[in-house]
């Protein structure tokens, strides 16, 4: 469902050009759980931002279900981000003045869910990731890191995306909580046949995924 061909990304900085990605090629099937590992600065986040249409490649192509992301208009990109992609970030990135429930409702709004059904749908999603009735009313600052990441996952899956992109989703959590979050993602990929691409430093986690790519200086060095 995902095919990356000759993908290159160069950043122009005042100190000269930075080649974050060099001639990347890989493919992922529907429902696969893929992990990306690599040293800091190897280009993992840059690759995810290309896949999530947050940024455009310098050259090469990215095809998701046969659609070339580089050829989308900005309106189509927005719609792609809202409906086809779900993002999970290392820093959770929840909107601080909205409750857990409202954060999930926000994603539903962007995805085009009717106003009347947003609240029930968001409640269902939050219960699914393991938050109770009282916790879903709280603002992010009044939730633990693990709980916040659960809210972020509920937000990511709100519009039943085909692809979930997670940038070090367990990076800020202790290993036990990180394991639970990973299991949650895993379960989702199985139950809904959602493709997941997760960047991780945790080799234990990487070992349990269907595929692992290793990035080094913007190049894929190992595929397994």
């Amino acid at each position: 469902m995902l095919a990356v061909k000759n993908l290159t990304k160069t950043f122009n900085t005042p100190g000269g050009d930075v080649m974050a990605l060099r001639d990347i090629n890989f493919a992922v099937d529907r429902g696969q759980f893929v992990s990306i590992i690599g040293k800091s600065g190897s280009g993992k986040s840059t690759l995810l931002s290309m896949l999530g249409a947050l940024d455009t490649p310098t050259s090469g192509s990215l095809e998701v279900d046969g659609v070339d992301l580089a050829k989308l208009s900005s309106r189509q990109q927005t719609s792609y981000r809202a409906k086809t992609i779900g993002f999970v970030f290392q820093q959770y990135n929840l909107i601080p003045n909205l409750s857990a429930l409202e954060n999930v409702m926000l994603a539903l709004e962007f995805g085009g869910t009717k106003p009347a059904s947003r609240r029930d749908e968001a409640t269902r999603l939050l219960k699914q990731v393991g938050l109770d009735e009282q916790e879903i009313q709280r603002k992010p600052t009044r939730l633990s890191g693990g709980q916040q990441q659960r809210v972020a996952i509920a937000r990511a899956i709100a519009n039943s995306p085909a692809l979930i992109l997670a940038d070090e989703p367990t990076g800020n959590l202790d290993s036990e909580t990180g394991q639970k979050i990973f299991d949650l993602l895993h379960k989702l990929s199985r139950s809904k046949n959602t493709t997941i691409i997760a960047v991780t430093h945790d080799l234990d986690i990487a070992g349990k995924t269907d595929k692992t790519f290793m990035l080094k200086d913007g190049k894929i060095t190992t595929k397994q």
Partner: protein, 463 residues
């Protein structure tokens, strides 16, 4: 939750900072409104003064100013000439005289004081006696044997209202007014003079050897004027033995466009023995201070509007910078530029509207006092003559404050200028709202542009 409710909610996100921004905005917007009120009130007053002064032309006998000076009064022929000049709609004529203690049983209500004594140092012992020829033969007009008392002003006029200091109707405190066109032995007595001599409506007094009946008591806010007697013009002409003579004529011109041409026509017809002056030119001078205030308040309106725009702009730039990451998140999870910008525009509008409501309320409250303060400071700095209110030093040679001449015009202007009333019209209020709206729009445009430029990939950057 939608774009609008999120925007409103965000406006109250940090109450302390939001409150400070709202307060600063409110002060600027309040200033915009009150400056607009001040400007329009002053402008209205300028127009009023110019319009009311605009059609009056004063014709004085050359050398005579009020009760002082020398020269010959205008003749009946002169008055007829004036009356028959094109565009002269109506005239009121005045003959002034003064009573010394041998002319009347009345006592002046004005103490001589050091000013009066100085004016009387020329005394040669002669005194006008009825039927006096003193006012018509120059040098002896400023004399009085009774050097310890000032004299009493006598105004013979076809229109008693010319004595009103503010140019309106003469205020008659008790009794009734007189018919300026009669030749009866009746008089209006100034409040101070009446008190001094225990006169009331119906009393009589002696002057020029005749018994005169008091018809009414008038009062102005001018001590000099209130030490006077007003009688019909013909009565004074008869009593002083000057048939047909007048010292001053105020002609009302049919329209303000014709004032200049009529002034020239009168000058050429009457020659150098008369001074023809129009109040329009004088009024123009007198309102120059008000015009200064008007342009000052316009600058105030512009300045305050710019300040309000700067405040909302800075506040929004601050907010956008601070929520850079949040904006990136909104875009990354599928928020369109339209929705994200819309949310911030609503936030900026909410802050501006709250600021506007508070500010307009503030403006309504302060616009009155502010206009008054501005206008009264203008009357102090203007060239208008302000007389000593106690009147204790006022006497024969007082330069202004005569009946019917220029002094009246000046006094009228003085009263007008200090009487600027703040009026908050719906139009001003709407314009202030319009300015506020413009402020809100400008205050949203730059943040919108900044938001549009934030890359969603920003969220993946670790801080």
């Amino acid at each position: 939750m939608n774009v609008v409710s999120r925007g409103i909610k965000n406006a109250t996100r940090s109450p302390l900072r939001g409150g400070a921004i709202v307060l600063m905005l409110a002060i600027s917007i309040g200033l915009v409104l009150s400056m607009m009120v001040a400007r329009s009130s002053v402008q209205t007053k300028i127009n009023d003064v110019l319009a009311s002064a605009g059609t009056k032309v004063t014709i004085n006998a050359a050398g005579i100013n009020g009760f002082a000076g020398g020269g010959n009064p205008l003749t009946a022929d002169n008055v007829t000439t004036i009356k028959n000049t094109a565009h002269v709609a109506s005239i009121s004529s005045t003959l002034t005289d003064q009573l010394g203690s041998t002319d009347t049983n009345l006592q002046s209500s004005l103490e001589l004081g050091s000013f009066g004594e100085r004016q009387n140092r020329f005394s040669d012992g002669s005194v006008p006696t009825p039927p006096a020829d003193s006012t018509s033969n120059g040098s002896s007009t400023t004399t009085d044997r009774q050097t310890m008392r000032s004299r009493i002003n006598v105004t013979g006029t076809t229109n008693p209202n010319v004595a009103s200091v503010n140019g309106g109707t003469l205020v008659i405190g008790s009794g009734k007014t007189i018919d300026g066109n009669s030749s009866d032995l009746v008089a209006l007595i100034g409040q101070n003079l009446a008190t001094k001599n225990n006169l009331s409506a119906g009393s009589t007094f002696t002057a020029y050897g005749k018994t005169i009946t008091v018809n009414g008591i008038y009062s102005t806010d001018n001590s000099f004027t209130d030490n006077g007697i007003i009688m019909p013009l013909a009565t004074v002409q008869n009593l002083t033995g000057q048939p047909g003579a007048v010292t001053s004529v105020v002609a009302t011109i049919d329209s303000s466009e014709n004032v200049d041409s009529t002034v020239s026509a009168l000058k050429s017809k009457l020659g150098s023995s008369v001074d023809v002056t129009s109040e329009a030119a004088q009024a123009e001078n007198s309102v120059s201070a008000l015009k200064g205030i008007a342009s000052l308040s316009l600058a105030g309106v512009i300045g305050a509007a710019i300040a309000a725009t700067a405040i909302i702009l800075l506040a929004m730039i601050l907010i956008v910078r601070e929520r850079r990451r949040e904006i990136g998140v909104l875009k990354a999870i599928g928020g369109s530029n339209f929705k994200v910008i819309g949310q911030f525009v609503v936030e900026s509008l909410t802050i501006t509207i709250i600021g506007a409501v508070v500010g307009l309320a503030l403006g309504v409250l302060v616009s009155g006092p502010m206009t008054t303060a501005l206008a009264s400071s203008s009357s102090n700095s203007s060239t208008v003559i302000i007389s000593n209110g106690s009147g204790s030093t006022a006497t024969v040679a007082r330069p202004a404050g005569d009946f019917g001449g220029f002094g009246r015009g000046l006094n009228q202007l003085r009263t007008n200028i200090t009487n600027v009333t703040a009026s908050l019209t719906p139009q001003i209020f709407l314009s202030a709202m319009g300015i506020t709206l413009a402020v809100a729009i400008i205050g949203s445009l730059l943040p919108a542009w900044l938001i549009a430029r934030i890359r969603p990939a920003e969220v993946l950057r670790t801080e």
